[in-house]
Amino acid sequence: MSGYGSPAAGVVAQAAPLARQATVWAGSHQAPLLDAARLALARDLQLAFRKRGQLVQPLAFFAMVTMLFPLAISPELARLREIAPGVLWAGALLASLLALEFLFRDDAYDGTLEQYALSGQSLTWLIFAKTAAHWLLTGLPLALMAPLAALSLGVSDAAVPGIVASVAVGSVALSLIGSIGAALTLGIKRSGALLSLLTLPLSLPVLIFGARATQLAISGGPLLAPLELLAALAVLGVTLAPLAAAAAVRISLE
């Protein structure tokens, strides 16, 4: 049915007992929806923590990107402070894209994604759980790291809460939008550039409002309005993106 290798019961059994429980529960039609989602989330988190090296990659990438700008443009803090919102968001977006390639890849490869699709459970919810895991592993750490990068760009302490808030909320939308592109490009070799091409147009509003919110945070202005818009985009993403991603996953697995 697909070219992703046999539904690997062996691989699944090697994984944590939690993972085994997840697939068993996922297959049982009696399992409540939230339990299945919770187990999928826990499984993703647990598997990710086994490869701690890979976890750090997007963060390291983000650090390096934000380092590029002072070196390439100007080390003057006054100038850096001006471009800080853009640098932070460009870095966050690129780091997010980097991590998105791995959202479905391993599960598609070992057949787990197929199991998810074939189980009686709502694929939309399971994908939402996976995307939530992705955000916890990428978006949230980025939001916590962003203040460090901002400080290195000459931003004052007072801006930190606003920066964390805007990146945290914005990255939720980014993870959700990105999950659609990741699902569409499943199995395409070296899909990084295509994934970016598909995700960027849809995530530009997030970038625009996120940069605006961050800028207001830095200049001390009222950032409630763009922050609320970011939250609205995130909510829109939560309701629609997993649906589209589930449809895309089914198409990719056919």
Partner: protein
């Protein structure tokens, strides 16, 4: 009312023959309308009192922008039809639309820049309409890139259909961005349902161009559709006659 004509649209050989027959009915009127519009816009219409002869760019910019939106909408509708009812011909229509839309989106952006520089002092601005039109170009390119990256035609059809449908939110954003945000771009002067605020001698060539470009889209679509229909056909019988003609 019989629906047979509608069902026949799902049949590849019928569509192929119909497309071949209809193409000149779109192509020649399109040529006439465009030539008429060019004549009216470049020669007959008087210079604008504010923009002089520079305003004549509207006769290529507005139709290009119209095309970029109309073609995407057509593509998204066809994609949705193909996705929901699993009709191959619908996917063929969607695939045919993309290159046409992309090229006119590019033309719209370039002609807009050429109009913006002398009139408003800048080639480009990151205002909502220009930015979302640029996003539209990337959506087209992403659509074409996704199709190119997937070898299996059926998967390519369905995956790109999801993309087209997800991206269609951009179209109303582009259209309404000039009313939602105050920015560089003009408020709509033609597309209002009330009386347009342009003089007739200037408006008529514009309408001719808009209609001409639309018919041109129809003609090009029909040509591409035939090829896309062929690409999706495996059965030999009707193809044999076509190919050896």
């Amino acid at each position: 009312m019989t629906w047979t004509w509608f069902h026949r649209l799902g049949s590849p050989p019928y569509v192929y023959a119909l497309a071949a027959r209809l193409t000149p009915w779109f192509g020649w009127p399109a040529a006439l309308l465009i030539i008429g519009g060019l004549w009216g816009g470049l020669v007959l219409a008087p210079p604008d009192y504010q923009q002089g002869d520079g305003f004549r760019i509207i006769y290529v910019h507005a139709p290009s922008a119209w095309m970029s939106l109309m073609v995407y909408t057509t593509m998204a509708v066809a994609a949705a039809v193909g996705l929901i009812w699993r009709i191959k011909v619908a996917h063929a229509v969607a695939a045919s639309c993309a290159p046409i839309g992309a090229s006119f989106t590019f033309a719209a952006l370039v002609t807009g820049a050429l109009w913006g520089e002398p009139m408003w002092g800048t080639y480009w601005e990151w205002d909502p309409r220009l930015t979302s039109e640029l996003i539209l170009l990337f959506l087209y390119l992403g659509y074409m890139g996704l199709r190119a990256g997937l070898e299996d035609t059926q998967r390519a059809d369905r995956a790109s259909a999801v993309l087209a449908v997800v991206g269609v939110v951009n179209v109303p954003i582009i259209h309404y961005s000039v009313t939602w945000w105050n920015s560089l771009h003009q408020a709509p002067s033609v597309m209002r349902l009330a009386k347009p605020t342009m003089a007739a001698s200037m408006l008529v060539p514009l309408l001719l161009m808009l209609l001409g470009f639309t018919l041109f889209f129809g003609a090009v679509l029909l040509v591409r559709l035939r090829g896309e229909v062929l690409n999706r056909e495996r059965s030999a019988s009707w193809i044999r006659e076509i190919v050896n003609a």
